[in-house]
């Protein structure tokens, strides 16, 4: 399991990356992250929605209500241009951290 701090810090880039592949809704986003992380990233379900709303307020994503075939309404989120830009910036930052750590660990453990 990842630490709380790392889970919180990685929420935005994870959501942006997922939405860059197509629109999705809260429950599906949680399930997708859970599956991709093999359940190592655990989000408190309710915490996702304030993050989505904050990202929408930032102008990174937008939402629309869609009615499913079974009549249930779901709020779908999709990424906007500003979100793509934010994702590019965050990607660069995470890759920087990753490459520094990878370099340090290679020197230490190989």
């Amino acid at each position: 399991m990842l630490s709380k701090e790392l889970v919180a810090a990685s929420a935005e880039p994870l959501i942006l990356s997922l939405l860059s592949g197509g629109e999705s809704y809260g429950y599906a986003i949680i399930q997708e992250i859970k599956a991709r992380s093999k359940e190592r990233i655990h989000w408190t379900d309710g915490m996702l929605y304030p993050v989505l709303h904050r990202m929408e307020a930032e102008g990174w994503i937008q939402s629309r209500w869609v009615e499913a075939e079974n009549g249930r309404r779901r709020k779908y989120y999709s990424i906007k241009k500003d979100g793509q830009r934010a994702l590019a910036q965050q990607r660069e930052q995470w890759l920087t951290v990753h490459s520094v750590l990878a370099g340090l660990w290679k020197e230490r453990y190989v």
């Binding site: 408190t44 379900d45 309710g46 709020k75």
Partner: protein, 207 residues
Amino acid sequence: MFDLDQAISDWRQQLAAGGIKAQDVLNELESHLRDEVDEQVRSGLSQQQAFEDAVQRLGQASVLKAEFRKADKTAALRLKRILLAGSGLLYLATSSYALVTHEMAGQERVLGFLALGFSILSGLGLRYGSRWVRAEGRTRTTLGVGGTTLGVGWFTCFMLLILPHLDFTISQLVVALLWALVPMIASGAFAVGLDESKGRMLGMSAK
């Protein structure tokens, strides 16, 4: 006999009583809850167990409310940015229009546009330059409030103490006002920049 619709209705009322009143948010949380209940029932839980489990996973109203408040703050900050940019553009457009259409000597017009240029440069420079101010907390607030007070104080002095003693034509008055506004715009932009970059020094940043 457990009634899921009634249980969800009661749960919505509890959330509303806990401070989450927006229908859009409640509908979204309900949609999530129903998906989760369906999933849990498929995996073998009773509807009641699944509902109780899903409610617990969603978290308490007070915690959710605090998190949603952060989103509201972000929206307010964005609106503030849009209003500030709009006011700045309006100021530049009306001032430029006045300088172009008003009958005045060429030298006065050049001086007027120079004042506008100084306003833009000092405003942008201090707004973005303030990001490098390392002070936090009370010192940061003092810098922002102090700067704004100096800017507003200067403009008030100019209007009340200096201007009445000057015998300007209308075009000279326009140019003088544009120059007098430069320090106020610069100090305001500095305060806005300080406010927006608050807390940034505590975190990490990458180029």
